[in-house]
Every structure is written in C-alpha cells, then in structure tokens.
C-alpha cells in the first residue's frame, strides 16, 4: 500500500493542512502560537500594569499643581512609616487579618474533619457542594446581609435581647465577624482535602501504640494537616488584607484598602496610593515564602 502512495502524485494539500504539518514538525512554533495571546495579555497588560503601579509608588505629587512628578524617591514610604494614622491603619489591618485567620482555622477544623473522616461518601459530596455554593455566591450580598443583621434593630440584637446582651454594632468586632464569615469556606475546603489525604493506617498505628483520641489528634493529625491549614490561611489572610468594602460597610474605621481607594479617587494622589498598595503585597510575599517552607503549596 505504501508503494502505491509513493508512485501516485502527491495529493494537493490545502493551506490548513500545510500549516498543520509545519506546526507538527516545529513544536516550538506550536508552543509559541499557543502561548502568544495568553502570555501577551498577562505579561504586557497585567504585569506591565503592576510594574507601572510600583514605579508610581516612587513618584510624588507636586503640592502646588497636583501633578505627578516622575523623579523617583522614597518620600511616600517615609510618609507611611512616619505618619501615625497610616501606621495604625497598617497595624489594624494586619491584626484583624491575623484574628480572622485564627478564627477560621478553629471554626473550619470540626466540619472539615467530619467531612473528611466521618461522613459517608454521599453526605461528603453534599457537604462539599454546600460549602462550595456560598463560597461562590456574591461577596457583596454576604457583607450586606451582615450589615442588616448587625444594625441596631437587626436580627442579632433581637436574638440577644432576652439574654440582656447587646450586639457588637458596627466596628472592629463586626469587621472581624464578617471577615471570618466571608472566608470560612476558603479555609474549610483545603483543610478537608488535607485531612482526607491522611492515611487511615497512621491513625490506627497511633491507637495501637496506646494513644488516646486527643493524643492522636495532637501528635498525628494536627502536624499532618498543618500544610493544608497554612494553605487555607493564605486565602483568609490575603483576602482580608486587601479588602476595603467590608470595613466601609460594617465599621467606620479604615483599612489599608480604604486609604488606597480614597487616594486613587477623591484625593487623586496615585503615588501615595501605589506606595500604600505595595504594603499588603509585600506582607503577602513574606507570608507566601513562609507558607512555602511549611509545604502549603502542595496543598493548594
């Protein structure tokens, strides 16, 4: 059959076919073609934008004309370090992000553990969907729901009034509560995946060696679940750090994001806004490096 093919004149090949065989013979061309648009987009449009943003952090605003002066300097960062208001805003943001992360870790553990190690496969599947759906449902609606619940004549004060207790109202406590609520699914899912990966044999071995449930939990399950816990904490920490809408809706105090937002918009001080925006990014980079050392990236 092959001999016939060789003797007959080669069939006329369409342009598409010729391009296809060129690509087949040149895998490099194939990769370049595949990657050109996505990388062009992400590198030029996105990384380029980020680059400009970080360059802008070193520019300054002319105090008289309010124009941007493009000679690089550290004056914005100096302002951020020396100004008490900015310093306390940074500390508050990090403090609440840490509190939220801790709260979510504690809240997520029992349900993740139940999903991973006790629930039947059917219940497990239902629970995953039950956690997944609120994770994807509108962020703004969830914050708004809490705003309605926390307000003076809202559901929380109504529920607490028989006990003679008054709810926290709007403020830092409300923020902590709402953030913990918002990011809880982001902690549950990685933790569930991490707990599910723990081999049953290790838990049994621990029991055979005489450890009680609490000892097994402390010495076997918790250390093995730690990378997953850290993976979840990347979300809870980072998402809190960069937020400005929740502080705006359930408190009257400011986060880093609020200052950035105000300086992009009303105050129109892009250099200062850019400089302040680098703060959560730097914190996250340090956090990610630590998380990487704890093996959290394999659990993402």
């Amino acid at each position: 059959m092959t001999s016939i093919a060789y003797e007959s004149p080669p069939p006329r090949r369409s342009l598409g076919r010729r391009v296809a065989s060129f690509l087949y013979r040149h895998p490099r061309a194939q990769v370049s073609l595949l990657l050109a648009t996505p990388l062009g987009w992400l590198v030029i449009a996105y990384l380029g934008s980020l680059g400009v943003l970080f360059a802008a952090a070193f520019w300054r605003l002319d105090p008289f004309t309010a124009n941007i002066v493009r000679d690089p300097g550290l004056q914005n960062f100096k302002t951020l370090v020396e100004n008490d208001v900015y310093r306390s805003i940074t500390i508050r943001t990090v403090k609440i992000a840490a509190a939220v992360t801790l709260t979510d870790a504690v809240l997520a553990f029992p349900i993740a553990y139940y999903m991973a190690r006790i629930a039947t496969p059917r219940v497990k599947g239902l629970l995953v969907v039950a956690i997944l759906m609120p994770l994807w449902s509108s962020y703004l609606v969830k914050v708004y729901a809490w705003r309605v619940i926390l307000q003076e004549n809202g559901a929380l004060n109504w529920a607490l009034s028989p006990l003679g207790v008054h709810g926290p109202g709007f403020g830092e406590v409300a923020m902590w509560l709402v953030f913990s609520y918002l990011w809880l699914p982001y902690m549950i899912l990685p933790l569930y995946a991490g707990l599910e990966r723990i081999p049953e044999s290790l838990v049994e071995a621990s029991g055979d060696l005489g450890a009680r449930g609490s000892r097994t939990f402390r010495s076997v399950i918790l250390p093995l679940a730690l990378p997953a816990l850290v993976a979840g904490s990347i979300f809870t920490f980072s998402l809190t750090l960069g937020d400005f809408i929740t502080p705006n809706l359930v408190s009257s105090v400011q986060f880093i994001g609020n200052v950035v937002y105000a300086n992009v918009g009303v105050a129109n001080n892009l250099p200062l806004a850019s400089a302040f925006a680098t703060v959560p990014v730097l914190i996250m980079i340090v956090y990610l490096l630590l998380a990487k050392r704890l093996g959290a990236f394999e659990s993402l």
Partner: protein
C-alpha cells in the same frame, strides 16, 4: 478511632457551622419579602411587592444587562486564553513552564485593590488616548484577567487526566493538528470548558472590587447594589436583587460541580 461522644460532637459542630454559613443568607431572603420599607427584625409580614418593583426598576434592568454583557465577554476572552495556556503547559516542555501557573494565579492571589488600581492606571494611560473610555469594555478586560485562572485550572486538570495517546492515535490515523483538535481534544475537554466557563461567568457576575476601578459610569449588578446601599428608600429592592444574585450564582456553581464529577469520554467506557 473517634469515640461516640467525639462523633456526636463533630456532627453537632458541623450542623452549627452550616447554620452559621446559611443563616445570614436566609435572613436576607426573608427581608426580600418584607412588608414594610424599614429593615427591622422580625419582619412584619410577607409580600411580593418588592419583587414586582425590582423587576420593573430601570436601574436594575440595565445593571443586569450590563453584568451579563460583561460576564459573557470576560468568559469568552478567559476561555480562549486559559485554554491556550493550559494546552501549552500540559502538552509541551519549554523554558519557564512552571512560571505560567504562577503568572495565571497572580491576578486573583494579589489583593483585588492592587489588580484594580494597576488596571485603572494602565487603561487611563493606554486606552484613553485612543478614545476608549472606562465602560463595559474595560470591565470585560479586567474581569477576563482574573477569570483566566479558572479556565486554565479546569482545562489543565482535565488534560492531565486524559491520555496523550488518543491524540497520537488520531494523528497516526491521518488527522492533522486541526482535525485532532476538532475531533479529539475538543470533545475530551468539552465538559471542563463548560464547567470553567460557568465558574468564570459566576466569578465575573459577582465581582465588585476590580469593577469599581474599571467601570467608569457603568453599573453592574454588584455596583448597583453598592451604590444603593446608602439609599434607605431603595433597600427593599436591594434585598430582592441580593437574593436573586445568590440564587443565580448558585446555578452555575452547582452545574459546574456536577460537570466535573463525571469526567468526559474516557471514564464512561
């Protein structure tokens, strides 16, 4: 290994956590049927009046159309770019392959305000001289940037699970690159594409932070809610829109999770 008490305790904790997650959504759903205009708890009675008002509200209608438009555009862009990147990363070895996954995740891993600001500054300097102002196009571009990761992850996961050999078999049988893609790769990844597309749509439809920086005067549904929160008169309608938004985003997410459970043509045989 868990004792009986531990099991019961964990079950109770699970139920309490679920209640904590769903209670606020339930409360807002009740408010959408609240008879009075004031947001007092407990609600005084039930009515469908606000649903009718919301349905006929021109601001809401416009916002819904805008959101759909933006989400469709963003999903389409992300679908193409995310799939291309996933195909390249899964099928070839090349320099910098590991960085691509990182690059794709970056827009969603960095705080939304950073992404928003960066895009805002770039659009202002690059697009405005060409007469392209802030509006639906800039929203699409902004959303697409962070939606790529969803498509990329879904397609990559599917490609990893499917065998390279069927594509080689297709080539051996005489199909060229295009035919192989059309008749083998595409059917293989179809459900993953659909699931990724649904999630990207849901992500774009709900996004608010990047949108505030890229929307200009255009109001998407979340932006409409955000601006109307400070108008007590509008709150009953906001409640209705809020509940609809939660219900609408539940549908694509549910469908996507169903689609990714059954894994294409290879497992069914």
């Amino acid at each position: 290994m868990e004792t009986r008490t531990a099991r019961i305790g964990l079950r109770v904790a699970t139920l309490l956590t679920l209640a904590f997650i769903y209670l606020p959504l339930g409360i807002i759903a009740l408010y959408a049927f609240n008879q009075t205009r004031t947001q007092r708890w407990p609600i005084s009675g039930l009515t469908l009046r606000w649903w009718d008002k919301a349905f006929h509200n021109p601001g809401v209608r416009d916002a819904v159309l805008r959101s759909i438009e933006a989400a469709l555009g963003a999903t389409a862009i992300a679908l193409v770019l995310g799939t291309l990147a996933a195909l390249a990363v899964q099928r070839y070895r090349f320099f910098g392959r590991e960085t691509i996954s990182f690059l794709v995740i970056l827009p969603i891993a960095l705080p939304g305000i950073v992404t928003g600001m960066a895009l805002n500054a770039t659009f202002r300097t690059v697009l405005e001289p060409f007469g392209v102002g802030f509006g639906i196009f800039t929203i699409m571009v902004g959303h697409a940037t962070f939606c790529i990761v969803v498509m990329y992850n879904n397609v990559l996961a599917r490609l990893r699970r499917s065998s390279r050999f069927i594509e080689e078999a297709s080539m051996d049988l005489g199909a060229d690159t295009w035919q192989t893609f059309r008749y083998v790769t595409l059917p293989l990844t179809r459900t993953a594409l659909l699931a990724g597309g649904l999630l990207a749509f849901a992500l774009s439809f709900d996004e608010v932070i990047v949108t505030t920086f890229t929307a200009g005067a255009v109001k998407t549904v979340p932006l409409w809610i955000y601006t109307n929160l400070s108008r007590p008169n509008q709150l009953p309608i906001v409640n209705v829109v809020a509940v609809s938004l939660v219900l609408l985003s539940a549908i694509p997410v549910y469908l996507a999770s169903r689609l990714t459970q059954e894994s294409g043509i290879l497992r069914r045989r």
